[in-house]
């Protein structure tokens, strides 16, 4: 196994600009504070239907988790929260700029990152970075970092999976720093390295006889 393990840091869910500028691509981060889940349901309701965001942002939290927890609401109104895993973030590109403006989010946490273009266009001007979950199946570890569910907003309107879960966390992680304040992306850096080997690997294979419409053979292509 590899000898070099990544640097580990603790970070607040309302981080200072200094704390964010410390982060390097590939650092491993553990979070303390309050975070909330928001994905397409919350974005559409807040940004398109212009419903009032049901919590004070970013005062209460500057950390938006692209996630729906494995959780249920008990008949007495208490919450039963097990595992927490992110959902793929690239689909939220069309809302992220407006959401940052509305919420003041400094940490976007999710699965798989967003495009370098999103980072340059929306993250850099807002002084925000992207943290990716690990694996991505580390739901049980992340679940351990949850101290309590503070609230669930809009679960009647949006369903449990799309609702806005407000969660108090302590030493929650691991997360990996995917973008920095300059808008660099760890995934893009890794993809470039991997793309260099691909030509040799493909030797001796044969492209399909029947092409698919819109198909490309550029192996360096980013998919999102």
């Amino acid at each position: 196994m590899a000898g070099k393990s990544p640097r580990k840091l603790r970070l607040s869910t309302n981080p200072t600009h200094e704390a964010l500028s410390e982060l390097r691509l590939g650092d491993v981060v553990y979070l303390d504070g309050t975070l909330y889940t928001a994905r397409e349901g919350v974005y559409m309701r807040a940004l398109e239907e212009k419903a009032n965001i049901p919590m004070e942002l970013p005062a209460k939290s500057a950390a938006n988790f692209h996630c729906s927890p494995a959780a249920s609401i008990n008949s007495d109104g208490s919450f039963n929260l097990g595992a927490v895993t992110a959902t793929a973030s690239f689909r939220f590109s069309k809302w992220i700029g407006d959401w940052m403006a509305a919420s003041g989010a400094k940490l976007i946490i999710g699965k798989g990152g967003m495009s370098a273009e999103d980072y340059k266009q929306h993250f850099v001007p807002n002084g925000a970075v992207y943290l990716t979950t690990v694996g991505y199946g580390t739901g049980a570890l992340l679940g351990r970092g949850v101290k309590k569910v503070v609230d669930v907003h809009w679960h009647e309107e949006l369903g449990l999976a799309q609702a806005m879960w407000v969660i108090e966390v302590e030493n929650m992680g691991p997360f990996i720093v995917e973008s920095d304040l300059k808008g660099n992306s760890l995934f893009e850096r890794e993809n470039e390295k991997i793309a260099r080997n691909l030509e040799a690997l493909y030797e001796g294979t044969k492209p399909a006889t029947l092409k698919r419409y819109g198909e490309t053979d550029d192996r360096k292509d980013e998919l999102i």
């Binding site: 494995a70 595992a83 990716t132 739901g139 691991p174 991997i194 690997l201 399909a208 006889t209 029947l210």
Partner: protein
């Protein structure tokens, strides 16, 4: 007679086991990959996953917060009888799915495709899927639940005989690189490949090859088994590891299943079962005895039969004696 109560109870236990306990065969495979991985970031991810499985078992919480789309595979011995018949059994499986979603808890992932209606219990139109198979012997039923995750680890292509093995390899690599970028399919995974059949049958074969065969299992056709071994290695030579970081952990094992297809075509599907390779199995006997396991043992000689009649001699003898 197998009681529907017992079916429901067993099914609820299976739902919990699948969500929480990583199957041993996959765990061993992943440990093997972790011991060989020398990409720093990929190795860190694998280590975190190994810790995650422990945390899930210790805390009895789901290993991954996305608990996938629970489904059922039901296999019935030829002599099995179910109280209330198949309709009562389907109701029991739907109840178990709903109850386990509340109690484990699982994520209520299932929604209407257009109206996004969410019953918060993973039950709805066509959900959970229930698939069937039969075996010539036995008065038992095998219940298997698979909670496959991932929107990203599946693809299909119509190839032709002239594309040959080189064409199969190309589509295999194309699929793995596409699934693996940014790790959206949560590799390293068990990769299932379906070859032949028809488009829908090919998808089903590949998915079952990924989800219903265990790590280390080989196709009984020695030439296909050799291809499985070659493809496992090929996938791990892409240079990509966990989360799409530089590394060597892409494929824990590759399973290929074939079905007879149209003479002009060669359908191919590729499916990645993710880091949360969730499957749990129980055999319920008619005397009420239940045995739990993690190997679905789905692809028996009977499931892969090529002939008109089932010619297994042991079975024939018994059939004639009756």
């Amino acid at each position: 007679m197998i009681s529907t109560n017992l079916i429901q109870q067993t099914a609820e236990t299976l739902m919990e086991k699948a969500a929480i306990e990583i199957p041993q065969d996959y765990l061993e495979g992943l440990k093997g990959a972790a011991s060989k991985e020398d990409g720093d970031l990929s190795a860190f991810v694998l280590q975190a996953m190994l810790e995650n499985y422990e945390a899930a078992k210790e805390d009895r919480r789901a290993m991954c917060g996305d608990t996938g789309t629970p489904r059922w595979y039901v296999k019935m011995g030829n002599e099995a009888a179910i109280e209330g018949g198949p309709v009562a059994m389907e109701t029991a499986l739907r109840r178990a799915t709903a109850n386990a979603t509340q109690n484990v808890p699982l994520r209520p992932n299932r929604v209407h495709p257009l109206w996004r209606t969410d019953h918060n219990n993973n039950v709805g139109i066509g959900a959970p899927e229930i698939e069937y198979a039969f075996e010539p012997d036995g008065d038992w039923i095998d219940l298997t639940t698979v909670h496959k995750g991932g929107l990203f680890g599946t693809d299909y292509r119509m190839l032709f005989p002239s594309d040959g093995i080189a064409g199969i390899k190309r589509f295999y690599l194309d699929s793995l690189v596409a699934f693996g970028k940014r790790g959206l399919a949560c590799q390293p995974a068990i990769i299932g490949i379906g070859l032949g059949g028809t488009k829908d049958a090919c998808m089903v074969l590949g998915k079952r090859a990924a989800c219903l065969r265990v790590v280390g299992d080989k196709n009984p056709d020695p030439k296909i088994a050799a291809l499985e071994a070659e493809f496992t290695e090929l996938g791990n030579n892409i240079g990509m590891g966990a989360m799409g970081f530089v590394g060597s952990s892409m494929v824990i094992d590759c399973n290929i299943e074939v079905g007879y297809c149209h003479t002009g075509g060669m359908q191919m599907s590729v499916h990645a079962f993710c880091l949360s390779s969730r499957r749990a199995v129980a055999r319920i006997y008619s005397d009420g005895h239940v045995e739990y396991r993690t190997d679905p043992n789905w692809f028996t000689p009977y499931q892969r039969r090529e002939t008109v009649e089932w010619e297994d001699s042991a079975w024939l003898e018994k059939a004639h004696a009756n």
